[in-house]
Amino acid sequence: MTSIKGFFRGKAAIQPIWLFVIAIFIFFSFMSEYFLSLGNITNILVQTSTIGLIALGMTYVMINGNIDLSVGAILGLAASLAVGLQDHGLTIAIIAALASGMLLGALNGLVVWKTGVNAFIVTLGAMLGIRGLIFLYTGEQSFYSMNFAFADFGASTIGPIPVLAIIFLLCTLVMHLVLTRTGHGRNTFAVGGNPEASIDAGIRLGRHMMINFIIVGFFAALAGVLLASQMGAATPNLGRDYELWTITAVVLGGTKLTGGYGSITGTLGGVLAIGILRNGMNLMQVPAFYVLVVLGVILISVLIIDKKLNVPSTKEVRI
């Protein structure tokens, strides 16, 4: 028993972000009569699934010590492809959309791998460029799906639970298990925690990072396809600013920007925190302008609290 517990030490303990999620959950339950209902909670799950899916991949990339700013653009491109290519068949369209995400992820990973340049720079460029590709492909137009099966899928439910929420939760579970149980997952921590040692241990660093960029590309594309199915359409501006919210969610979840530390459970908490805040403030009719301020202030507060909680004050010199 102790050994099992030991392997998950530090992860078995409840993460601060979940305390926060529980707190705001209780808060909004009291503040709004509409908040606490199955319908609303599944709504939150569906609404967070887009950012949530990307955040799963982003967690891997960020534990690696990298970052991917191009996810919003990849999402937009995948959505446009998934709708725009439906003349050639729904399956082909979806496969092409997912493949585009993985391909662009691979490209990001390849450049980071071969040049060793900060992923921030590489993916910032990709973020601009891929958005350009979307406009080039769509001719600045929105696409509308003629295939109702596609839109119906986005709205379908299994029992009372929407399919999109189920997909999101399933992916979360799988990614959690991969991160904690498999060689690739454990190597993700090694690469972020001590790249030099990882190379010596025979982990192929560049290849490993590239796989994670492909993973985040895949999830961004998947999120794009699912979002498009929700709308039965795709717009060229889709996914703008999503990278910022994704990174915010992952950081709220406790993943370190410097790499080597993080978890999927934390990320799930971070995603839910943002989703619940947005939903709750909508229900409480907080004016849109104030929502921006509140979200920003909460993010900074969490950062400050995290700093105060996590740094053993005796170890660090006053700098």
Partner: protein
Amino acid sequence: MNPVQAITGRQPIDAEPILKLEGITKRFPGVVALNKVDFDVRPGEVHALLGENGAGKSTLMKVLAGKHQANEGRIILGGEEMEFENPKHAKRAGVVLIHQEQSLVPEMTVAENIYLGSLPKKWGNRVDWRRLREDTNRILETLKCSFQHDDLVGSLSIAKKQMVEIARALVFTPRVVVFDEPTASLTDHEKPVLYDVIQSLCEQGVGIVYISHRMDEIFHLSHRISVLRDGEYTGTVNTCSTNEDEVTRMMIGRSLELDHASKPSEFGENMLELRNLSVKRLFTDVSLNVRRGEIIGMYGLVGAGRSEVAETIFGLRSPSGGEILLDGEVVNFRNSHDAVVAGIALVPEDRKDQGLILGMNCRDNMTLAGLKTVSTMGFMKRADERAVYDKYHQAMKIKTPSWRQKVGNLSGGNQQKIVIGKWLHTHPKLLILDEPTRGIDVGSKAEIHALVKDLAKSGYAVLVISSEMPEVLGLSNRIIAMYDGRVTAEFDGDSVSEDELVQAITGMGTPTPAAAVIG
């Protein structure tokens, strides 16, 4: 008491070498790092490899362990010629390099670190935790480790981390293990554990390559000694039939003597006085004084609170009790800047992280602590800066091609001299040196020791923190011993015995009252 004291040369082992390196040449663009070097290790033997920094020891070992590939030469392991493409490849063949720098992942468990890159798998890519646990426990048992397989490595002490590194070497039944400066970050009482491990590896017939700067260790452990100088192989001797002088000569081409007699002897007023200085959870009631022209040695184990005392004096930590007096006046620094203004200089423990901006050139590093003195109205005066650089460059015989050289490209000794030069330029009242010669070759070490003594003689108050006994004994007028955050004793630097010192820093015996012996 001191395990290092027993200096006994061992008889060489007579056996066919398990590993032979023949004519290894490694060229980097513009430089030949290794020129036709031969080296071999016999099973069950400790073969020490010596040389000054930059002589090519580490490069040779990296070639051996597959991190670099040689341009010429052969590696023969157990009679077969090998070509290692990467460290994992070498490891699988049984050649393991235990690194000078810690190569562990702090956020992972001991078990995961030991099996990094080769976690046992089942069902495809799924980690087999049970086997991992069992295998790890087996290795930890053979090493008699006091920590668990599921401890996070980040929470272990340096010595224990070192044991994890060694445990990692045992994953693939090793045939040759290379220790690169394994004791650099260990304290004297942690070393015997390491020696035991090496002993037991030898008994299993493993060949050991041991790289170190410490003569005492080498003579204690090794069977044979090989020396490299400037990338060239200078020879191999049997440990039992040689002495320190001969080995030193082989390394630097001349002999060295520790000059105990040249210690400073004229002291002035109290420059620094600590009165019951405390920082919560780090150290308590530390009292000491340093006079002008005096060298005080602070001796203790890593973690005894020595560096923390220095950092507190330097304004990097706020005291929770007691007071600091500088030149007779109570001072209260808000930050390191205040301390520098007040005339305190700290040569920190970790050169690369704390001492230098590696990407900056030599000159800029040199003037960094005293920018005000080389500028008017905030504008830098280039000529003055050059003058400052030239002055210390000459005074300390820093070997660099030009002031434009990035300090990251210099050897450890020269880097340390730049750090010291940086502080001399501020003309401090008190100079604190924290482990001033760690990881520095013998030649530079002696130069730095001489420099410190000269500085004291010219009126500086000097506080030297060290975990090397010869250094403390050779430099200090008085020695402050620390154990577990407290000052346990104060000794006269000339009359103290090594036994007394070891007792004081390991918490054995009754602590001598701090004021009992004043030199």
